[in-house]
Symmetry: C2
Subunit: 422 residues, 2 copies
């Protein structure tokens, strides 16, 4: 086998465990050093390849590569940048191949979600078309848990553990105070179209009386009257009402409850946020209850301090197995998580054709949501629960997590700058 | 010594460690069983005394009383209810004494913040005036860290650890993405008048380049022009800007940036919240940067999963020592935390006259804030850092913290109902 170099890149929204996948990729490449030479990490995802901003990971110690497993965020930088089709922008693909050739790249590991799976697939196809052989492997990552085929997505389990723990804790707080203070609490969580994160809040309801009492999913049309009746009933029954709301909930006309005017991201997604205060003001106007609300935003996806051990193990292994697949000769594939059993929870990694993954989106099945649309079913609980199993705490220094910052030493460029404007 | 019973009650906003104080009080009372008989916990603070809603804690196992140390919120319920002066409402005080007599109460442990210190002091004074001898001890608790005399307040250290960790994690996330995504992130934290919690965010800046880049304190008048210049400089220098903002920041005319219309609490405080989106829209309108914001709200004060071990130990000990002071004959006192040294951090509990505590408020000293008003000084860091030292994780069950719920068996009432309307 001819030895080739590799590029690893992180794409899209980062997570508490995407660096664990980086650790898996780099560790595996080091193990298979007969097949793989230098691992370059592209700075800021695919942009780092286009811009020839390549970090030489060989300068990083074993200890630091291991410490990536306990560090949130994207150690090499990530990006939101979508490659156009070959017809629309052949120049970009030619540039990628130019960089691959210049660095003798035989392996491309792209660590991202739905949009990144599409990018990775395009890279593999185009490399073929342009006659440059490369193994392009997609390493799954998304807190949205919306990739198809794979049982779940690395990154999700840790968000799930964070939101379930947080709403459990806040619920205990509110219960203590409800007689003379806040009656309604709303926690807004991420999830544009798929309600997986909102559903995870439901894990905190360890029995039927426990908060959250109501979950608002993007999959269920928001009906204000029905919702207010449910809130009122809950306050009458329990003295307080705790609500988890997905940022992406929609009214009957498919419109968001609120659209943040901040703009639209590079993938054409409207940037959401701020549903919680809107829900609270609806409740306060109609029912008059005192309320509080929280918006977890980035805290939820960067909360490495309360990562799921299961999630962490899976994130590491999809990285590690992705390298093994590449060495075995696979191209345009993704290591997916296959669930073998619920009790005890057992899983394995399997190799899946990227064509089956890219450009699909997995929503909550209707039977994961209760008939009234306001909570998760036992079936959903059985699915979600194992994903938050286990704790894996980072080391602390002076009371704060001791997260690693890599040297990130970039190679001296060999090529002319890339002209994005062309 | 004649054996007397005790009442313990929790008041005001609950914390991640107020139950550790409860555990300290109950454990000490059990140890000194020659002096103290039954410990009744009033349900929902002083209201539980007025309403004769008394929980018999003797039915709780040692194990559960210990487990209170790892459980956030107020296990017996808390309240926001301010006793009026004796002149304005003598009837309420007479009722307290009536309940004390009915249950042979010799000890009153009131666990709360500033307003509760005042309540506790009044109870001790009034009991004297009405000829019913009682030892009224205030057990300090407030995330606001604004009690005077005591070096710090139990509850604060855990919030400090939570907000510093959270903004550190979010900062790493944003740095990863800033090239093509969010440039400005704002985390809103609690703190009406005192900026202690906002200051704690500054601990995450382990060196000068590290987020948060800007802290907005309620003690410093918000100057929009100057602030926007600082934000712009930060984005130009580092590529992104992370901001911690206290809910209570004020403009030059002493007006809040935003006032939540939800109402005013029982102590006459305006309920704040929602400063973060306002700050973001100011930035976006003037500078055009893409932003995200988070509002931690109750998550910050209930986050037992990342409590400070130092805070936890102090919370337990102020409870425990409060009982010892009572037995030693003290009345109208508070166990305060006295710092002996910074390096190594050493502290002890001392007995302080409640007259020196009640109705005072401790703000951030000006020399704890940098000259430009946007960060903490080294002096502040030296003060804050030890308070977040150490981790003390709760046990987990099925991936979630295993928090205890007590039996909370109430005694059968002996008295006629209390008429609040009188």
């Amino acid at each position: 086998m001819t030895k080739k170099n590799a590029i690893y890149a992180q794409s899209g929204g980062v997570t508490a465990v995407i660096n664990a996948s980086a650790s898996g990729v780099i560790s595996a490449c080091r193990k298979y050093s007969d097949a793989i030479g230098v691992v370059y990490a592209a700075q800021n995802g695919i942009l780092g390849v286009l811009n020839e901003e390549l970090i030489d990971t060989t300068t990083e110690s074993e200890a630091n590569i291991k410490k990536l497993q306990q560090t949130p965020g994207g150690a090499f930088g990530s990006c939101r940048y979508k490659l156009k089709s070959l017809e629309d922008n052949r120049y970009e693909y030619e540039r990628l191949i130019q960089v691959f050739k210049a660095y003798d790249i035989g392996y491309f590991f792209y660590n991202g979600g739905n949009d990144s799976a599409d990018t990775c697939l395009k890279v593999s196809q185009i490399a073929n078309e342009l006659g440059y052989p490369i193994k392009a492997i997609h390493i799954p990552k998304t807190i949205d848990n919306d990739l198809v085929i794979t049982d779940n997505c690395p990154g999700f389990g840790s968000v799930a553990k964070y939101v379930a723990t947080s709403i459990m804790e806040a619920g205990i707080d509110i219960k203590s105070m409800a007689l003379t203070s806040t009656k309604v609490f709303v926690l807004e969580v991420m999830g544009r179209n798929a309600g997986w994160i909102a559903a995870a809040c439901g894990l905190a309801s360890v029995d039927n009386n426990k908060p959250p009492h109501i979950i608002l999913f993007p999959e269920i049309i928001f009906d204000e009257e029905k919702f207010l009746t449910k809130v009122n009933e809950t306050v009458k029954n329990y003295g307080f009402c705790v609500i988890a709301v997905s940022e992406g909930i929609k009214k009957a006309n498919a419109q968001s409850i609120v659209v943040n005017q901040n703009g639209i991201d590079d993938f054409g997604h409207v940037q959401l946020g701020g549903v919680a205060p809107v829900i609270c003001s609806i409740i306060n106007n109609k029912l008059g209850y005192k309320y509080h609300w929280a918006v977890a935003d980035y805290l939820q996806r960067s909360a490495r301090h309360i990562a799921s051990k299961t999630d962490l193990e899976q994130a590491y292994l999809v990285g590690y197995c992705g390298v093994e697949y590449a060495i075995q000769g696979y191209n345009a594939v993704m290591p997916a998580i296959k669930r073998i059993s619920n009790t005890p929870y057992r899983w394995e990694i399997e190799c899946v054709d990227l064509n089956l993954i890219a450009n699909h989106e997995k929503f909550m099945p209707r039977d994961f949501i209760t008939d009234d649309g306001y909570h998760i079913t036992n079936k959903c609980r059985q699915y979600l629960e194992p994903l938050i199993f286990g704790e894996d705490y980072p080391e602390y220094k002076n009371g704060l997590p001791d997260y690693v910052e890599l040297n990130n030493i970039k190679v001296v460029k060999k090529l002319a700058p890339f002209n994005f404007g062309r």
